[in-house]
Symmetry: C2
Subunit: 357 residues, 2 copies
């Protein structure tokens, strides 16, 4: 029996609905496999600003750090768009990543055969897609100093700083090589080494790390080329590793390939300790509270928690199989439906998954 405390941070928009779904699935898994999961809820994002005056209250940070896994819904929405940078919902997300040193963002992108029809790409381009993006999450432009607005010779300018230390590069790159060893053994490292100093250090460091992974094949790709290859040959990738901002852009691009954005999970991991698991999709304020959201990405994120956070591989596989089953049986929330007949609600989809477990 495994005993775990899970922090749930529902956040904004559809966040509460999809985390509720994931909790129900985790509870059923606990019951079936005789584990004990207890849940504690905290504020983050816009709802934290409304309730506590800041996007990441101290108590959220504390309870998160002490728990075994964090399940996050989504943050942000038009209600808070007018706020200054440091006070925005997204700041809560950036801060929790940084304060828990969650430097490794893993985003698997996989075609579900029953959904490839919904892809903007041709079926033959995407049906074999199955890769993992490993994005550095606590460095680069997101956190570098100085970051400021200033006046120079009477004119306003703004500055952000892209900085990477070698150790920051090394630890994320090692993760990618390790992940590749458990997959098809191919790593593509993405940078802009023909222009950026930080990318040249990145590329050098990747080459150094490579010597410890002789069974892994390595390619370097410029970020502009990678943005092309993701569309023209998405099934050629296995593991993609890249820095924070490039990872943000490429992983969102990649999420569109298979027609299943509503299904994509992510994990943000540190060296040790607690990880954070969240759907790739956003807070979708337009459909919030309407029982329309697709809960499968949050449920798939909880499967990543079982696997990466608790080493419960069998349980994770059970959840993933249940997702494939309900999709195979034709259950569709509105976002993945080909037409409007037989569209199910958030709660109906969740019940179907629980039944399939």
């Amino acid at each position: 029996m495994t005993q775990k405390t899970i922090t749930v941070l529902p956040g904004d928009g559809i966040g509460p609905e999809v985390t509720t779904a994931a909790i129900e699935v985790l509870e059923r898994i606990a019951q079936k496999f005789h584990h004990k999961f207890s849940f504690q809820e905290g504020y983050i994002g816009g709802s934290a600003i409304d309730a506590k005056g800041e996007p990441l209250p101290e108590e959220t940070k504390e309870m998160s750090a002490k728990s075994d896994g964090i399940l996050l819904g989504a943050v942000g929405g038009p209600d808070w768009d007018h706020l200054p940078g440091a006070k925005r919902p997204e700041k809560g997300l950036l801060e929790i990543r940084k304060s828990l040193d969650l430097y490794a963002n893993l985003r698997p992108v996989k075609a579900y055969s029953s959904l490839v029809g919904a892809s903007p790409l041709k079926r033959e381009k995407v049906e074999e897609v199955d890769f993992l993006i490993v994005r550095e999450l606590t460095g680069g432009l997101y956190f570098g100093e100085p970051r400021k607005r200033e006046e120079v010779n009477g004119e306003e300018q703004a500055v952000d700083t892209l900085v990477y230390k070698k150790s920051e590069i090394r630890r994320i790159v090692k993760r990618a090589f390790e992940a590749a060893q458990l997959r098809k053994g191919k790593v593509v490292s993405v940078d802009k080494a023909n222009v950026l100093e930080s990318s040249r250090l990145w590329r050098e460091t990747v080459d150094e790390c490579k010597t410890d992974y002789s069974n892994v094949e390595l390619d370097h790709m410029l970020v502009d080329n990678a943005a092309m290859q993701l569309i023209s040959q998405p099934d050629a990738f296995d593991v993609i590793v890249t820095e924070n901002m490039f990872g943000d852009i490429l992983s969102d691009e990649a999420s569109m390939l298979t027609g299943s954005l509503g299904l994509l999970p992510s994990a943000s991991l540190g060296a040790t300790g607690v990880g954070l698991y969240e759907p790739v999709h956003g807070s979708a304020p337009d459909i919030a509270g309407k029982n329309l959201a697709n809960p499968l990405a949050a449920i798939a994120s909880s499967a990543m928690m079982l696997k990466y956070g608790f080493q419960l591989e069998k349980e994770a596989a059970r959840v993933e199989e249940a997702i494939e089953k309900v999709l195979g049986d034709g259950y569709r929330t509105a976002d993945i439906a080909q037409d409007s007949t037989g569209v199910v609600t958030t709660t109906e989809m969740t019940e179907a998954v629980i039944k399939a477990l």
Copy 2:
């Protein structure tokens, strides 16, 4: 009669072959419309390194600055990949952009109906695609200082700087609004304002400029979302304006949409004076010198020179029509051929265009 001096910078790989094609087309246009174009050739990129020891020799800079338009082939290739940053072929391109203050990079992306079958995307997604990317080309991470490698507490790190002055943002944004007025009147400005200081200044400045263009519709989009929307709804865009690095990534992503990378031209313009015109594709060293390259992007770039550089609208239209005609007639170089029957060479394609003029 218009009299113009054109600097041709063939560069590396397939560069010489495709600029030769474009020159032939321009010569025929001059003849037909009674203009006088004279051509002078200069070194840039890897071939400049080989011949002169640096990627942008002083004489190239001078002859370029004094001419009426610059036609560039492509730069770069594996022969020079081992060189340090400041000595690489790409540096020549960055330097000529900066020294001539070519801050506005225009990249039209348009579906050719006879080619949409070659797109990785479904036909219905791309057949209406017709947008213009306006990329800032002389600021941001590409040029910000400091940019360096250093040791801090015994550890190596590397730094790049993303900096924008308000005036740099204003001038590119105005270009985008003006372009939109001649098109469908819709601008999407792309930034990462939820994270970056420079993006917040960008967004503010865009909103300020907007007041002078009441007939243009404006939306702001986060760069990660833009990377998604380009795939899911590419035909919803009219004009996209963004900073240097985002523009690099998004415009290459966009170049894959319509299946016609080999046809896409670009123009890099300053406030006044000479502009630089070049195909979007790279130097393709694997097929260099084999008479296999697609010359249409270089030819389309020369049409942009006629239009934006020399205000020869009619002549530009004639070239564009000739390109459509040869494609409609089924001429295909290898890169855009659906199968291998009837594939034509670089010179055959060029002759076909000249005949169609």
